[in-house]
């Protein structure tokens, strides 16, 4: 026999108390009376009427003790391990994203979710089992399938919100596989709904029950931060910040910029309801360091009020141009900020000393190992078959990609282009119906931008978008930029870093001072660190030196902490998951408690009668 609640045996301490009550009873009031004769007769007569009186008194004690023992046993909830019929599965999904740290419900949404979930566990029936998932940027299985409430409670008490975003689709896909072949399963999501609802579930009738947590949307936060060279003066740094107000009230405050902990600039900020405000700071930067933005406002979520970005001093970009002669291109590359341009006609491009190599309309004999902008040329291992395309029409371009920032392809006409199939490593940026025209990607640690047509056989060089694209491409291909990008990760995303020389050991210091020794292969040049659940500045220490990297939230979905009443299940809204089900509260313990109180009352009443 086992017990679900062995802690209830502490109630056994009440057993001696009952005995003490009976001992206390023996304390009698001493009274001198004329004669005990009448009392003797009285007792004799009454005993004659009820011969078990003396015995009965003891029986009362025994009964009370027995009752108490039974109550304690009931509280301890004994059970026998036995074969049971298949149970119904409940998958508990606890949102552990940053928005759950909001304090609009006291003490926080996470605590509320925990309390609700514990209540739900209390209401779990005998024929039900449960799985506990915690979902942030990654989905963790906190407790595998069990109907043991103590284990479930332990798992729920173990739940802790992170500083990361919500990736619900991963959790739902996991839950979907878990409930496969289960009878009458349910997925219970304890969340505020502050996330873009995942797609891909439109046609799947997931048995999802949504338990809404949170009441208000009083929050403002930094949703984007970027440090770049000042477009007007390349020697200066421009810090772009985007601050959004999720609340339905006007929020005002100030935005502070500091560099390595030293305040550089402060800007007042006022945001209308649901407004997104952009701010630009322009400062001089003397050394490498960390820019930190601090939004000083009074709101319910503190975690998104700060963001840090590591900024390295701009180094001149060494660009090698191998071309059959293209003045537009040469001018455009030269016009890009901070560029040291060299040109060559040698087709043996080792490219060791250069940051970026531009190959235009020539086929190199030896390809460079540096990052490459390849125009109207390709390497044999990039694509499969290559065809030709006459006057392809530009139908789509991804202007959200940094390469196409401020680039408009609408008025560009192309005479002829190469027809290829986009390889898996590359992202098509500009597309015609038949073939991608511009591709960008990373292959074997080499960044590649490929333009599939001769720019001189198009109207592009005549458009203003051309030099912007070239400047974007040089910036994107600059290894310093890509390294800087690596140094800023979103909370919950793994930090990935590549060293120039192999290292033997590496240690990561978290913002809270905790140190973690990374397990790495001998003489590796790459490290991967996954525990980026906390926002702030991390330090990666190797025998060769120290590298800082920052973890930020920077997510408008988490900043908008408005609790959703409904989750639109997919684009077509086929299924609406709402808060409909109330967890059943287990009440038998209270009844047992009432029994105990009744017992106490009985004792009190018994004594009141004799007093």
């Amino acid at each position: 026999m086992n017990f679900l609640e062995p802690a209830a045996f502490w109630f056994a301490l009440a057993l001696p108390v009952v005995v003490v009550f009976y001992l206390l009873k023996r304390k009698r009031v001493v009274k001198l009376i004329s004669s005990t004769l009448l009392w003797q007769k009285f007792l004799a007569e009454n005993q004659a009427n009820a011969p078990f009186q003396k015995l009965r008194k003891n029986w009362l004690l025994f009964l009370q003790l027995l009752m108490l023992i039974l109550v304690i046993l009931a509280l301890a909830r004994p059970y026998f391990a036995a074969e049971t019929k298949p149970t119904r599965l409940r998958v508990l999904v606890l949102d552990a994203s940053a928005s759950m740290q909001a304090t609009d419900v006291k003490p926080s949404r996470a605590e509320e979710a925990r309390a609700e979930a514990l209540k739900f566990v209390d209401g779990l029936r005998d024929n039900e089992s449960m799985i506990v998932l915690q979902v942030g940027a990654i989905t963790e299985v906190k407790q595998s399938k069990t109907s043991e409430k103590a284990a479930l409670r332990r798992a729920i008490n173990d739940y802790k919100p992170t500083d990361s975003i919500t990736r619900l689709d991963e959790a739902l896909r996991l839950a979907e596989t878990l409930i496969k072949n289960e009878q009458d399963p349910e997925i219970h999501l304890f969340s505020d709904g502050a996330f873009p609802f995942p797609e891909g579930f439109e046609t799947k009738p997931l048995p999802l029950v949504y338990h809404r947590i949170g009441v208000s949307s009083d929050n403002a936060g930094i949703t984007a931060m970027d440090v770049r060279a000042n477009p007007d003066n390349a020697a200066q740094r421009a810090i772009f910040a985007s601050v959004s107000n999720a609340s339905s009230n006007v929020i005002s405050g100030r935005l502070e910029l500091s560099f390595n902990g030293q305040t550089m600039d402060v800007k007042a900020i006022e945001m209308k309801p649901k407004e997104n405000v952009g701010k630009v700071f322009v400062v001089d930067q003397k050394t490498n360091g960390v820019f930190t933005l601090n939004l000083v406002v009074n709101d319910d979520l503190a975690i998104d009020n700060q963001a840090s970005v590591i900024s390295l001093l701009p180094q001149p970009i060494k660009v090698l141009l191998a071309s059959s002669g293209n003045r537009f291109l040469e001018k455009a590359v030269k016009a890009a900020p901070n560029v040291q341009l060299s040109t060559t006609s040698d087709l043996r491009l080792s490219g060791g000393d250069y940051d970026v190599v531009v190959v235009d309309n020539v086929a190199p004999i030896e390809w460079p190992t540096a990052n490459v902008l390849a125009i109207n040329t390709w390497r044999t291992n990039w694509f499969g078959a290559i065809g030709k395309l006459e006057q392809p029409a530009i139908v789509d371009w991804k202007n959200t990609h940094p390469l196409l920032r401020f680039v408009n392809m609408q008025n560009v006409a192309i005479n002829e282009s190469l027809a290829v199939k986009a390889p898996p490593w590359a992202l098509p940026l500009v597309e015609s119906p038949q073939s991608p025209l511009v591709l960008a990607g990373e292959l074997n640690n080499q960044r590649i931008v490929w333009v599939g047509f001769d720019t001189l056989a198009s109207t592009w060089p005549l458009r203003v978008s051309f030099p912007i694209f070239i400047a974007n491409a040089i910036d994107w291909l600059n290894p310093a930029t890509s390294r800087a990008e690596l140094l800023s990760v979103q909370a919950g995303m793994p930090f990935h870093f590549r060293f120039e020389n192999p290292v033997s050991s590496a240690t990561v210091t978290r913002p809270d001072g905790q140190e973690t020794e990374l397990v790495i292969n001998t003489n590796t040049t790459e490290v991967l660190y996954g525990d980026t659940t906390k926002r702030g500045l991390y330090k990666l220490k190797t025998p060769d030196g120290e590298t800082d990297f920052t973890v930020n939230l920077l997510d408008s979905g988490e900043t908008d902490i408005t609790p959703r009443d409904e989750l639109p299940f997919g684009k077509n809204g086929r299924t609406i998951a709402t808060t409909v089900q109330q967890a059943n509260l287990e009440i038998w313990r209270w009844i047992a408690l009432a029994g105990l109180v009744l017992l106490m009352f009985e004792w009190w009443f018994y004594h009141k009668r004799t007093a």
Binding site: K27, K31, L32, S34, S35, F42, R609, T610, A611
Partner: protein, 301 residues
């Protein structure tokens, strides 16, 4: 036991008591002359019988009328009037000191009243307490035999000086009282009758000696209707014996039943032996007992 501060009986009660006379069911057997009819022949105004004249008889008692008709000499005999001894057995044990007012006070008042009526009727009054307190020896000596109305004041005073203490030894006391009495007469027993040894032997001895007995059982209100509830350890005032009892309002009824049973058994014992039985709480009205109950029972009239 403190002496009584107030007079035993009020003047009003005494005045009313003067009207009464103890009614004797049997002829007095005392040898002393008194005012009671007796079987003895002697001097009085009540004619009893005739007998033949023998030489030497007092010629004053010859029935001359009879001599005229029958020509023979007969002597008229008259009933001799004798006194009626009244013995008051007063329980002076420790248990009598309980009650509010104390049972002993009530007992003394009843004794005084009966004694007064007897004294007014020129009867001899004897007071016996049990146990006899050594400190009261002088008063008890004076109370051993009292006669005549003029002694009543002294009688009351002596009664008022009596004290209580010790255990009753009811049976012993009554048996000794029965044996030591020269003549049987009226016996009044004033006691709570709560003797662990019982009362049958003592009363039986008095009956056997030919006493005309009245028992007045005096119980305190607390004994009839206890008001102390809870878990009690009761200590007997006389024997010191302890009795543990758990008592509450819910058991009051059965206790009352016990008391009633006890009294009923005593009453039955008394009735079957021609003993008058009275029960009175110590806080009851004296008038009720003296002027009503005793009269109805024809103790006096």
């Amino acid at each position: 036991m403190a002496r009584m501060s107030a007079p035993l009986l009020t003047a009003e009660l005494l005045r009313r008591l003067e009207q009464f006379q103890l009614l004797a069911a049997r002829r007095a057997k005392s040898s002393a002359r008194g005012e009671r009819r007796s079987r003895a022949r002697g001097q009085s105004v009540e004619f009893a019988d005739h007998r033949n004249y023998v030489l030497g008889d007092d010629l004053r008692y010859l029935d001359w009328n009879l001599y005229g008709r029958l020509d023979r000499l007969f002597l008229k005999l008259y009933e001799e009037e004798r006194e009626l001894p009244v013995t008051l057995f007063i329980d002076a044990s420790e248990s009598m000191s309980f009650g509010e007012p104390p049972k002993f006070d009530f007992a003394r008042q009843v004794a005084a009243a009966i004694g007064y009526v007897a004294l007014c009727g020129f009867d001899r009054v004897r007071v016996r307490t049990f146990p006899e307190q050594s400190a009261d020896a002088a008063y008890l000596g004076a109370l051993r035999t009292v006669r005549g109305r003029k002694s009543s004041l002294q009688f009351f005073q002596n009664l008022g000086h009596l004290t209580t203490g010790g255990s009753a030894q009811f049976n012993d006391a009554l048996r000794r009282g029965a044996l030591s009495a020269q003549q049987a007469g009226v016996a009044i027993v004033l006691s709570d009758m709560l003797d662990p040894e019982g009362y049958e032997e003592g009363l039986g001895a008095l009956v056997g000696r030919g006493f005309q007995i009245s028992v007045v059982q005096i119980l305190s209100p607390e004994e009839i209707n206890p008001e102390t509830y809870g878990d009690l350890r009761l200590i007997d005032s006389e024997s010191g014996a302890e009795q543990e009892v758990t008592f509450g309002k819910f058991r009051l009824k059965s206790y009352r039943q016990t008391v009633d049973n006890f009294c009923q058994r005593l009453r039955e014992y008394c009735t079957t032996r021609g003993i008058n039985y009275f029960m009175s709480p110590s806080n009851a009205s004296l008038d009720q007992l003296l002027l009503k109950q005793l009269r109805e029972a024809e103790i006096w009239g």
